[in-house]
């Protein structure tokens, strides 16, 4: 009997459960919810970014302007110190030919630039304090977590609880005693003081988080390395660390964000030399009123480094905890 009937090729890739109306509807619903959530959470960011580029009248305009002529006034006022010139002197000042780009813009607002502001210095302080304390927390955290995960540390359970208990009260509660201690120890208004403090706060978090990640790595790998002729520390470095990289990256980002954003202690424990960005940005007071666009510009500049780090590490953050040659 001849086979004469031919039919259209079947597309096996089409999954029956993914073409039905019900599936299409729930899919659309899910996307809608995600988009809505993203929109709501991005509104403040959008507000901030636009405010940073608005002129002084635009930023306080009611109703808020969505379309406006962008200006970098906000950034200039953020980065400079200025004086207000009386109208008479202003005319004369404007006539000068040696004014640079920024000075011209500010001259339009009747202000004369007298020097750079402290914003750059404060941002640098933030970078120093946050990165040093993060590196320190992760470094100490990964060693402690490894020990807790692998060795019979006497009183292990109690120690772990004790470490966790440092997070059980709001840090602000201890600001006054720490302030007094820091004055005695001459750690007040020093980078070291903030680095130590942030490390202490982050360490408990780092230990617990990293212990979870290291617990997931089977001991067999290190033991294989031990038998293969490596010492415990070498095995840790060559076999455990490469596998813990996901956890280390995640811990790094969380610690960095905490140290970077910390406000209360930075406000209490620093004044001039070591003051970080968070307590200084809201105090950008202009001549005659709050400089909203300068504050927005400052916040924007403050966000950029942490966004860069998070994006740089996002592959590690998203990757699964266990990967590679596992068989179960």
């Amino acid at each position: 009997m001849a086979v004469s009937t031919t039919s259209a090729p079947i597309t096996y890739a089409t999954r029956v459960d993914k073409v039905g109306a019900r599936y299409q509807f729930t899919r659309a619903l899910r996307i809608a919810v995600v988009v809505l959530y993203a929109t709501i959470s991005l509104i403040p960011v959008f507000w901030m970014v636009t405010a940073a580029f608005k002129s002084r009248p635009d930023v306080v305009a009611i109703p808020p302007k969505v379309f406006f002529t962008p200006t970098i006034e906000g950034f200039i006022s953020l980065l400079t110190k200025r004086v207000l010139l009386p109208p008479g002197m202003m005319e004369e000042y404007k006539q000068r030919t040696d004014l640079n780009f920024a000075e011209r813009i500010m001259a339009e607002r009747g202000q004369r630039i007298t020097g750079p502001s402290q914003y750059g210095q404060r941002l640098l302080n933030s970078v120093i304090v946050a990165s040093a304390s993060t590196v320190l927390s992760v470094l100490l955290g990964v060693l402690a977590a490894y020990a807790f995960s692998r060795f019979n540390v006497p009183g292990k359970g109690d120690l772990l609880f004790f470490i966790l208990s440092t997070r059980m009260l709001p840090p602000v509660v201890v600001t006054i005693p720490i302030f007094l201690m820091y004055q005695q120890l001459r750690l007040y208004d020093t980078h070291l003081g903030l680095i130590l403090l942030y490390t202490v706060f982050n360490l408990s978090f780092a230990v617990w988080l990293l212990k979870g990640f290291i617990d997931e790595i089977p001991r067999e790998y290190e033991e294989a390395a031990l038998v293969d002729g490596y010492s415990r520390l070498q095995a840790f470095r060559k076999v455990v660390l490469p596998q813990a990289i996901t956890g280390i990256a995640a811990t790094f980002v969380f610690c960095l964000i905490f140290a970077w954003n910390e406000y209360a202690f930075a406000l209490m424990l620093t004044s001039e030399r070591a003051r970080t960005a968070p307590p200084s940005i809201p105090t950008v007071l202009g001549t005659g009123g709050i400089e909203w666009s300068a504050i927005a510009a400052g916040t924007l500049g403050f966000l950029v480094p942490v966004i860069i780090v998070t994006f740089a590490l996002r592959d590690y953050l998203l990757r699964g905890v266990t990967f590679g040659a596992l068989r179960k």
């Binding site: 067999e220 033991e223 294989a224 390395a225 031990l226 038998v227 293969d228 490596y230 596998q243 040659a325």
Partner: protein, 355 residues
């Protein structure tokens, strides 16, 4: 290569005794298999030898020299693990090279390369060397793991059920390969398994572990033909041995609730009540058999057929070569090979030595 001796090793984990006074010697170039069920202490034994676990009492000796306080790195053993056998962040080549790159060894990269290729050839993974370990199949992974052990030329190979996670076909293929490798290299090997087939086929000698106690050490033949306890008798042999509570009276051995009765051997020392054992292949189905029963089940395996025979309220297993032409429910006559009966103490399960 070396001789490895365990002398009165005891190891406890909390209140659990993992190894209880275990002593045995793996001779130079010998393939020694530790056979036992899960939790018998097989892996612990390997870990004690490798130095990953410290025994509570007893001594480990390599070539007669105690190594109790020698670090794992300095003991120069190679360990093939059951799971997680490869470093997941490294390529196959780097996995093989890793033991050679250990700080104490001081080998040049050229030398390492040569030895890696040599080992890779022996386990037939040369084509995989540049691959990441991530996309290897289970069989390839264990071959790489074997290669990583071979590359070092260690004093002793310690293998912790390296085949148990593979499917049946692959396990058989790798078992043959392992056998070939070991015969070629005459490497001292301690191989741990719960699979009696692996033990029987690979071993020069087998040690049977039960709950941390070494029950019997012997060649596969000794273990099979003269099991020291009912436990060993049951552990080795497929299909399993027939075991019954039996009684001796009037010069006959009788199995209660059945028609099985055999003339008692002329030995002295057989108690009135004991455990009787005989292997399925020693139950021969033949028309002139002196015993009879009813066939209740047939399991044709191709090579042989397992015949389940009921006798009274007892049932026994017999094997027949090829696919047997019986029908379920029919009466059958059989006889039991008298010379190959096993007698065990009913209480302790120990083999009764009759003279």
């Amino acid at each position: 290569m070396a001789t490895v001796e365990l002398s009165h090793i005891t190891k406890k984990f909390g209140s659990v005794t993992a190894l209880n006074d275990v002593s045995f010697t793996v001779k130079d170039g010998e393939f020694f298999v530790l056979l036992g069920q899960t939790g018998a202490g097989k892996t612990t034994t390997l870990r004690v030898i490798a130095g990953l676990e410290k025994q509570d009492a007893g001594e480990v000796l390599f070539d007669g020299v105690p190594v109790n306080d020698v670090t794992p790195a300095e003991r120069d053993t190679a360990f093939v693990f059951q799971y997680y056998s490869l470093y997941p962040t490294m390529s196959v080549y780097d996995n093989l090279a890793f033991p050679l790159r250990a700080p104490g060894r001081n080998l040049s990269e050229a030398e390492i390369k040569q030895r890696v290729h040599e080992a890779a050839e022996r386990v037939r993974i040369t084509h995989l060397l540049q691959r990441s370990t991530r996309n290897l199949s289970g069989g390839e992974m264990q071959r790489v793991a074997l290669g990583r052990a071979l590359v070092r030329r260690p004093k002793i190979f310690l293998m912790d059920e390296p085949l148990s996670n593979l499917d049946a076909k692959l396990r058989e293929a790798l078992r043959i390969e392992l056998n070939r490798l070991q015969r070629e290299a005459h490497s001292t090997t301690l191989f741990v398994t719960h699979d009696q087939i692996e033990a029987m086929t690979l071993a020069d000698r087998v040690g049977v572990l039960r709950e941390g106690v070494l029950v019997q050490v012997g060649t596969p033949r000794e273990i099979y033909d003269f099991p020291a306890t009912t436990f060993v008798a049951k552990l080795v042999g497929v299909p399993r041995i027939n075991l019954y509570n039996a009684a001796r009276a009037d010069g006959m051995i009788r199995v209660p609730d059945s028609t099985i009765q055999l003339p008692a051997p002329m030995h002295v020392g057989l108690p009135e009540s004991f455990t009787l054992g005989f292997r399925p292949e020693d139950v021969q189905i033949t028309p002139d058999g002196d015993l009879s029963g009813q066939i209740t089940l047939l399991e044709p395996l191709g090579v042989e057929t397992i015949v389940h025979i009921r006798s009274g309220r007892q049932s026994l297993l017999s094997t027949v070569s090829g696919i047997a032409d019986f029908s379920i429910g029919s009466e059958v006559r059989y006889r039991i090979v008298r010379e190959r009966l096993h007698f065990f103490d009913r209480k302790t399960g120990r083999r009764l030595s009759l003279n």
